[in-house]
């Protein structure tokens, strides 16, 4: 599996994502510069965390217009796994690949800590290696992770099982319905505030995030196999 990690000016978790895939998962991975226009040849796309364009104005607002974004949207439409973490999630929202918007944390402060997440939906290509309702430990680090959507959107997310992760215990940022991560209807675009790439090495405190990447790999192997046999 060959994964692209998109690098925007101001991305700062790009290397973390790169090493989680290269060292944690042991798969091929490359950085793709925001000004590129193609993602041909990549099997999965990661939009890492950080402060693209300083997050000046609004998180993710400026990145959405980067040269690479049409290719990201195309990859999403083609059904490739697209994962946006933290700032990556905010970019996916701004780009309209996922519904809703992000507000400042309810306490208005940046917050960095390891939280407990509940796996609401383990029937996605990102979460197949977790158990339903499994509690996992993943770090968060954000100032604007207070997910917002209107009632109708929330109902839609619930009806379609699009809520993948929720915060277990205290909600750190005030997000609606304790949402920590959501997926698109098609099931191949996941946005989440917590950082699975920071939980891919036991030396740093938790490797609960590694199974998310392994799930993607399994999915890829299965679909490659299916393509081969069909």
């Amino acid at each position: 599996m060959k994964t692209a990690v998109i690098v925007f000016p101001g991305s700062n978790c790009d290397q973390d994502m790169y090493y989680a895939i290269k060292d944690g998962l042991g798969e091929e991975v490359e950085y793709v510069w925001h000004a590129e226009t193609s993602l041909d040849g990549f099997d999965a796309v990661m939009i890492p965390g950080g402060f693209s364009y300083g997050d000046y104005l609004r998180s993710g607002a400026i990145a959405r217009f980067a040269g690479i974004m049409p290719a990201v949207i195309e990859a999403a439409k083609a059904g490739k796994p697209v994962l946006g973490v933290c700032n990556g999630f905010q970019i996916l929202l701004e780009a309209g690949l996922l519904p809703g918007a992000m507000l400042k944390n309810k306490h208005l402060k940046f917050i960095c800590e390891t939280v407990h997440l509940k796996t609401e939906n383990n029937e996605t290509l990102f979460t197949s290696l977790y158990k339903k309702d499994e509690i996992i430990r993943i770090p968060i680090a954000h100032g604007e992770g207070n997910y917002y959507c209107d009632d109708e959107t929330l109902q839609g997310l619930r009806d379609n099982h699009q809520i993948v992760f929720t915060y277990d215990g205290e909600n750190p940022n005030g997000s609606r319905a304790d949402i920590a991560g959501i997926i698109n209807k098609a099931g191949n675009v996941l946005g989440m505030m917590p950082h699975p790439e920071r939980a891919a090495d036991a030396l740093l405190g938790s490797d609960d995030g590694l199974r998310l990447f392994q799930s993607i790999l399994n999915h890829w192997r299965e679909s490659a196999h299916a393509a081969y046999t069909s």
Partner: protein
């Protein structure tokens, strides 16, 4: 009409003594005239006044700094460049430096702190290193004061805002509160970087004919000090224009880091230096002076954010996120391309010349020409010093011994003193995990950051107990270094070296200058014995509130090397049943202790004694025990004594402690006797540990419950961990949310 025409003439500057309002003394002005062989014009007077300020020239502190040991077998670069460099093996090196931003933070706390972080990061990457960690050493006044709370809150936000955005983890630091910092907070930021030996850069302008380029943000009238602005004539332009506060742009700096690190690999790069305090003047003149050459610069080419800037303003501006580089002639286009990729401009603004002068051209005229080394060689000032009466009194004071009836209550009260309380409220606002190398996060004695791709780690800490220095700066100075080293050792690392930030009051006050002398002497002695050379540092003077100097606060930033990340220790107890040892015996030493401050409201008497030889021996024994995998946890006993250390060891765990002592409870629990440790050891390693570490006394066991039991001959103290921890964790957030 251009503003330059309104500037006073050289004659006016002399006759009306305008140089004095700009910050030069009579003697210094005479020296400037001698160096130039004529009277300086307005711009030139400005160049000298900033370059000869204490901040840039260290003219008062230089004679003292000579005492510091600065070399060692691992030192690759000592003080003098942007940051110092120490070898960590395998062709790699660690780069670090600390810097103060106290005064800007007092005026505009968010931006002052943010730009302090930005500045120290530039010092590190300008050496060719990738910044991997930040630390912040902070001191504020009384939290009952709403301005103090505002400044505290904004400083922390500013550090978080800059560090989080640029993606460098803030992994450690300090936070203390004392009335002496009421109007003058201390905001010291330290940055640590990692590099390969072959990438070491210097801030030198070598090679006649080479091109001088300006990169990064454009220049505005930021931070041009209103006080050094001379005459009434030019003040008709609004005040707003003058002392504009510097605003940090971490996004710009992130781009600058990446572009400059790419540049570092390019063979056309000759020299690189950041534009810190005194911006263009200091970078240009220092780069020229160090290489024994001159620089001719055309100021019309300087990227400008505002219109009609004068040469004076451009040279003295402290706009952030700018670098000056010297490259081989002819490679300008390649260099521009590197910066363009990051959306930045690199502009050729001058060239290296043989004549050893800094020559500035503006609108077709030479507006300043001064010998390059003149700016960098301010006349040294030898200040008088005098032993303060308070010191003599404290030395003679009878030993203070606390009277304690309720030990449990005293411990509870002690742990919620803001200085001892949990720092979570602060550290949660910092992204301490970005770059995914943080092996030990804030909360232990030292933070540990992995060197990716190796088994090695870097341990880092900042330390200074100013209360000890207020009582006895010589002893306090030694303790600051020793405590930093103890923190490094407790994490399983060998101390490599230090950077220091000397925060003091007004050196013209002989008592303050005496404190400086004594502190530096003490620090230097400790550095020699503990073999931790000083590789970089910073001096911040004139820290006062209402003409009262702050306590002498020479902050020590130390870095150590962990050889094997599998053998890292932290303060927390790990396993039920582990044996608990206290290393070192407490004496009744309460001068400057947290307990004395809590009971008496102020420090008095003598600080704890420090025996450097004993300190050194213990450190090496404790380190060896950790490195051989004998210990489960290690914590030094410092502020708040053993009581605070035990609390630190059980907080954040589901463990308790059952400990028994034959000593006096007040002394055992609260004395701040030096060179002591609290260490837990697995049953199987007890024998080996006891023979490895002299003076280790077995005091009890780690338990799996919520109780801390401390049994003495006269008293048994029982504490409930969850209750104690809740109060300790909640203090700062409680104070800060009850705002205004």
């Amino acid at each position: 009409m251009p503003l330059t025409h309104l500037e006073p003439s050289p004659e006016q500057i002399e006759q009306e003594k305008i140089y004095r309002t700009m910050g030069l003394t009579e003697d210094e002005y005479v020296e400037v005239k001698r160096l130039l062989g004529r009277k300086p014009n307005y711009t030139e007077t400005g160049l000298f006044s900033v370059m000869w300020s204490e901040h840039c020239s260290y003219k008062t502190s230089k004679p003292l700094l000579k005492q510091f040991p600065t070399s060692g077998k691992r030192v690759l670069q000592g003080p003098g460049e942007g940051a110092g460099i120490i070898d960590i093996g395998d062709g790699q090196a660690v780069v670090f430096k600390i810097e103060s931003h106290n005064h800007p933070s007092a005026i505009e706390p968010y931006q002052g702190a943010a730009t302090g972080v930005g500045g120290i990061i530039r010092d590190v990457f300008s050496m060719g290193a990738r910044p991997v960690a930040l630390l912040d050493s902070l001191r504020f006044g009384d939290l009952n004061n709403s301005r103090v709370r505002y400044v505290f809150e904004e400083v922390v936000s500013g550090i978080a805002g800059y560090g989080n955005c640029i993606g460098i983890p803030t992994v450690g630091g300090e936070l203390q509160f004392d009335d002496c910092y009421n109007g003058n907070p201390l905001v010291n930021a330290m940055c640590v970087g990692i590099m390969n030996h072959e990438d070491i850069q210097v801030g030198q302008a070598r090679g006649i004919g080479n091109t001088v380029m300006y990169v990064g943000a454009s220049t505005g009238r930021d931070g041009i000090n209103g006080a050094t602005f001379a005459s009434e004539e030019i003040s008709d332009k609004s005040d707003e224009k003058r002392s504009a506060v510097q605003v940090g742009d971490p996004f710009m700096e992130k781009l600058l880091v990446e572009a400059c690190l790419e540049l570092t690999k390019h063979e056309a790069l000759v020299g690189i230096q950041d534009m810190g305090a005194a911006g263009l003047v200091s970078s240009a003149s220092e780069m020229a002076a160090k290489a024994g050459v001159g620089i001719h610069m055309n100021l019309d080419l300087i990227p400008q954010r505002e219109t009609e800037m004068t040469p004076y303003e451009m040279m003295l501006s402290e706009s952030q996120e700018r670098m000056l580089i010297v490259i081989k002639k002819g490679s300008e286009e390649e260099i521009k391309a590197i910066f363009a990729r990051w959306g930045l401009h690199a502009v050729a603004v001058g060239e290296v010349i043989e004549e050893e002068v800094l020559r500035l051209e503006h609108k077709g005229q030479i507006v300043a020409e001064v010998p390059s080394d003149a700016l960098a060689s301010a006349p040294v000032r030898h200040m008088p010093s005098k032993v303060p009466a308070e010191y003599t009194d404290n030395q003679a004071a009878p030993v203070w011994i606390p009277v304690i009836e309720d030990y449990a209550g005293t411990i509870k009260k002690l742990l919620v003193q803001p200085t001892l309380a949990s720092k979570d409220w602060v550290t949660r606002q910092y992204d301490y995990m970005v770059q995914t190398n943080t092996v030990v996060a804030p909360g232990s004695d030292a933070a540990v950051v992995r060197v990716r791709g190796t088994k090695k780690g870097l341990a880092m800490t900042t330390d200074c107990n100013a209360k000890y220095l207020a009582l006895d700066p010589l002893v306090g100075g030694k303790i600051a270094v020793a405590e930093a080293a103890r923190n490094i050792v407790c994490s399983g690392a060998v101390p490599l070296g230090i950077t220091d930030c000397l925060n003091f009051g007004t050196p013209e006050n002989p008592e303050v200058f005496w404190e400086m002398e004594e502190s530096v002497k003490g620090m230097a002695e400790a550095c020699k014995v503990l073999e931790t050379p000083v590789i970089s540092g910073n001096v911040s003077l004139y820290n006062e509130t209402d003409h009262e100097a702050i306590d002498p606060t020479p902050v020590v930033g130390m870095v150590g090397l962990v050889e094997d990340l599998d053998r890292v220790a932290t303060v927390s107890f790990k396993n039920e049943g582990d044996a608990v040892y206290v290393v070192g015996q407490a004496a009744p030493e309460f001068g400057g202790s947290a307990l004395q401050i809590m009971f008496e409201g102020k420090a008095s008497g003598k600080p704890p004694v420090l025996n450097l030889e004993l300190e050194k021996k213990r450190q090496s024994q404790v380190l060896a025990a950790i490195q051989s995998g004998l210990v489960s946890s290690a914590h030094d006993i410092s502020e708040g004594g053993l009581a605070a250390a035990i609390a630190d060891a059980v907080f954040g765990t589901s463990l308790g402690a059952d400990l028994h002592f034959t000593t006096d409870p007040a002394v055992e629990l609260f004395s701040e006797t030096q060179s002591r440790y609290l260490i837990s050891v697995p049953e199987a390693s007890m024998k080996a540990f006891e023979s490895a570490v002299d003076g280790a006394v077995l005091v009890g066991r780690v338990t799996r419950n919520d109780k801390i039991t401390l049994e003495f001959a006269s008293d048994t103290v029982t504490l409930d961990r969850p209750e104690l921890e809740k109060d300790w964790r909640g203090v700062l957030s409680c104070i800060m949310s009850a705002k205004n």
